[in-house]
């Protein structure tokens, strides 16, 4: 403190309130080595407020023209000194009271926290960890099934479900054949919506939605089998669940930042429609599709042809497909060719058509009979093990 000796023993006029009443009186104060000396009476010991126990009404800055000081030793009491001289001297003797010191003191834990958060995010990203995937894999089957029902319900709002009995029977056969080749002991449910869009979606709880447009665009049962196996691959990898958990997490984070009442999560079907899977996810689904088709003795050529045809069509008239489902599968990334080559190369085993000619035409006619989606409170009963 000796370096500040020029600041000591100057007297300042001040107003002192003891904090018991709202009255105040004029007194004199002095800055000393030990603290602020409050000279209550001309004679007698001054009251000392040590620098370390002080607080000011506002952080001290270079612009300060006065200072209101309190001391934790004497709660309620205030000392008000006018003029910039006292405030500036106090800023030197008690530097913890300056605005920059106070700001750094309250911000530094959070600054380190922010650095740690960013570092952790980078690590999670670099190590390819997915917290959303972990949460998705911990969801009980019932919750996943409920999510799936809601997604299908909101996707099919205003549309009908195709449920011609013989068509459903054929679809059941195809689903059964592929599902039993999945290794995973999971029941898959497949629904066809009366919807002209050419698309297919995996939805939570091992559900797959196909559209009438897709059935019409397909040139044979092997093509549908390929698409279905690809979507099953997404389902096995819990991609739809992961996507929804991530979207919900983002929505919750947004609510946290902006304040809200959960309205953003209203329509999870729309959320899923807008999801697009990463290239890695598409690659994983392709791998599953190849393996399922091989196990089920269905040729992967159909899948490859459909893939090729659709990506050409997509290239000509972009925007024909949504971002989810097939849109992602067929998006015109440079590696589409690579993926196509991988699927084509997977051939070379004995295969039989995915469905008989008769079953295929039954399946194509599944939308001959439709019912409003709202009547389908429970998923159709063609669960296949």
């Amino acid at each position: 403190m000796s370096m500040h000796s020029d600041l000591f023993h100057q007297r300042f006029e001040a107003r002192f309130s003891d904090g018991r009443t709202a009255g105040s009186r004029e007194i004199k104060v002095e800055l000393t080595e030990r603290g602020i000396a409050i000279l209550q009476h001309e004679a007698g010991e001054p009251l000392i407020w040590p620098y370390g126990a002080l607080a000011t009404a506002e952080p001290l800055t270079d612009h300060a023209i006065d200072a209101l000081v309190t001391c934790s030793y004497q709660p309620g009491a205030t000392l008000f000194v006018q003029g910039p001289r006292f405030a500036r001297a106090l800023a030197k003797l008690a530097p913890q009271l300056t605005a920059s010191a106070e700001r750094w003191r309250s911000a530094s834990p959070w600054l380190w926290g922010a650095v740690a958060t960013v570092a952790l995010s980078v690590i999670v990203w670099l190590a390819d960890l997915s917290p959303a995937r972990t949460i998705a894999s911990m969801l009980p089957d019932k919750a996943r099934a409920a999510m799936g029902r809601q997604v299908i319900a909101s996707m099919s709002e205003g549309r009908s479900v195709c449920d011609d009995p013989s068509g459903k029977k054929a679809l059941g056969k195809l689903t059964e054949r592929l599902a039993s080749a999945t290794h995973a002991d999971r029941p898959f449910t497949v629904v066809v919506l009366d919807w002209g869009l050419v698309n297919a979606f995996a939805t939570p709880g091992e559900n797959v939605v196909l559209t009438r447009g897709l059935l019409e665009a397909a040139e044979g049962p092997d093509e549908i089998a390929g698409v279905l196996a690809h979507e099953m691959g997404h389902g096995i990898e819990l991609h739809p669940e992961t996507g929804l958990v991530r979207a919900m997490g983002l929505a919750a984070a947004t609510e946290l930042l902006m304040g809200g009442s959960g309205g953003a999560l209203g329509n999870i079907g729309i959320v899923l429609l807008q999801l697009s899977y990463s290239r890695d996810a598409e690659g994983q689904a392709d791998d599953h599709a190849i393996s399922i088709l091989r196990q089920a003795s269905v040729s992967s050529k159909g899948f490859a042809h459909f893939f090729e045809r659709m990506s050409k069509r997509d290239g000509k008239a972009s925007g024909g497909l949504g971002k989810g489902g097939l849109g992602g599968m067929l998006s015109s990334h440079p590696e589409t060719g690579e993926r196509l080559a991988k699927v084509l190369a997977a051939g070379g085993y004995d295969a039989t058509p995915a469905l008989t000619e008769a079953d295929w035409s039954e399946l194509k006619g599944i939308c001959a009979n439709t019912s409003p989606a709202s009547e389908q409170s429970e998923p159709p009963d063609d669960k296949a093990q």
């Binding site: 309130s17 009443t21 009404a57 506002e58 006065d66 309190t70 922010a114 919750a143 999560l265």
Partner: protein, 422 residues
């Protein structure tokens, strides 16, 4: 002069001069707070708000001595965490659960959503009262604290029920409602041992309200009529069946826009005028000891402060956006030189940049408007204090410390609810 004093004895107490000492360095504070908020991913906001309050409170002088804000950023932060955990998260959970259980857009889910909205409105009143209580408890002058010694539920109930009546009464309950709510807060407020009192009714507000109400109606009809005349004139000039050209359509649009912009400006002025009348009336009705507040706000004064504040916020936003674009451009340029040639196609680089930039841009846009918020807050509060005075006397030696225990009302976990996280 009141009856307690005789001619020979002066009234007990002193006149206290209420004044505003404009805070210096608010722009520097704004910039520092903004930078710290960005670097701490927003969490510093609670401490930033606290420092702004300390500066603003300090600028309010009573008898030359500053008001002191004793709240801390930590209290605001804990209050937010508790409200988030106890109110916001359950609301989020219940809405999502209702959608999952009953289905989206089902009657039951909509019912749950409606119930949540109603509940939030009740919480609104609760939040206003409790925020007021926290602020008063954390405000002191000469070491004497303020307090709000009442319960928040009656206020919240009044707030909610009278709000339901606003559409039913075509708005005519508003003067009565705001006066009732203001009197509830004022009559619960204390400065140390000294209670505030609200003496007055909503009566004097009804004439200005009628002017506002009929004024808005007249404005609407006038604007509609003038635009009708504009359209009619152009149609008439074209003759029957004449198809207006693009240029004429643009003139149409501009003329209509001008009419409605003018009408809106008129509306802003009228509502500012009504707001000034309300604040003055409330000030005049607020008593403490032998003193009473007096308000001299004007509609033009309020409107000027509001409009210039808006311009200041917009200027701050522009500065932030320009800086963000410059820094973003710099980062993309640096990234372009670091990424090895050929590993990513230009399309992919653009796609990656857009993925990262889009959410950041939204955050920066929203935040950018808050850059100079402290400056505008200081201007608003300065205008208010400069146009308020305290008439009469206060017996300051008689006013003792609040009987409300500062520990019990300030630091306890249950009281953390009182923190104004709303």
């Amino acid at each position: 002069m009141d009856t307690q004093t005789t001619k020979c004895q002066p009234a007990p107490g002193v006149h206290l001069d209420l004044s505003w000492l404009p805070p210096i360095g608010m722009i520097g504070l704004s910039v520092a707070n903004f930078v710290y908020r960005l670097l701490t991913l927003g969490i510093y906001d609670f401490w930033a708000r606290t420092e702004v309050r300390k500066r603003l409170w300090s600028a309010i002088r009573l008898d030359g001595e500053p008001l002191v804000y004793t709240g801390t950023g930590k209290e605001l932060f804990l209050g937010f965490l508790i409200v988030f955990g106890v109110v916001l998260l359950p609301i989020l959970f219940v809405s999502v659960a209702a959608i999952l259980v009953f289905g989206p857009n089902s009657a039951a889910a909509n019912l749950v959503q409606a119930a949540i909205y109603l509940g939030v409105v009740v919480l609104f009143g609760l939040g206003i009262y409790r925020a007021q209580r926290y602020r008063l408890l954390r405000t002191s002058w000469r070491g004497i604290r303020g307090s709000l010694e009442g319960r928040s539920m009656p206020y919240a109930t009044t707030y909610f029920l009278t709000m339901l009546l606003i559409p039913v009464t075509l708005g005519w309950i508003i003067p009565w409602r705001t006066t009732k709510l203001q009197s509830m807060i004022t009559n619960d407020a204390r400065f140390g041992s000294e209670p505030f009192a609200f003496r007055g009714s909503s009566g004097p507000l009804y004439a200005p309200f009628a002017v506002l109400w009929f004024g808005v109606l007249a404005l609407f009809f006038a604007a509609s009529m003038i635009s009708g005349i504009v359209i009619g004139t152009i149609q008439g000039a074209l003759g029957p069946g004449g198809e207006p050209s693009e240029a004429i359509k643009q003139v149409y649009g501009l003329a209509l826009l001008a009419v409605f912009a003018l009408a809106y400006l008129f509306y802003l002025f009228m509502s500012a005028w009504y707001r000034a009348r309300t604040i003055n009336h409330f000030a005049d009705c607020t008593f403490i000891d032998n003193a009473r507040f007096n308000g001299r706000l004007t509609g033009a004064g309020l409107l000027w402060i509001d409009l210039t504040n808006l311009a200041i916020l917009a200027a701050g936003s522009l500065i932030v956006m320009a800086l963000a674009v410059a820094i973003g451009g710099l980062i993309v340029t640096i990234a372009g030189t670091i990424v090895p040639a050929g590993s990513l196609t230009p399309d992919e680089v653009t796609a990656y940049a857009a993925t990262i930039a889009a959410p950041l841009l939204v955050v920066i846009t929203v935040l950018s408007f808050t850059l100079l918020l402290p400056v505008t807050q200081a201007r608003s509060m300065g205008y208010l204090i400069n146009n308020l005075s305290l008439e009469g006397t206060l017996d300051v030696d008689k006013i003792s410390q609040s009987t409300a225990d500062p520990m019990a009302t300030g630091e306890g976990l249950a009281q953390a609810f009182d923190v104004d996280a709303f």
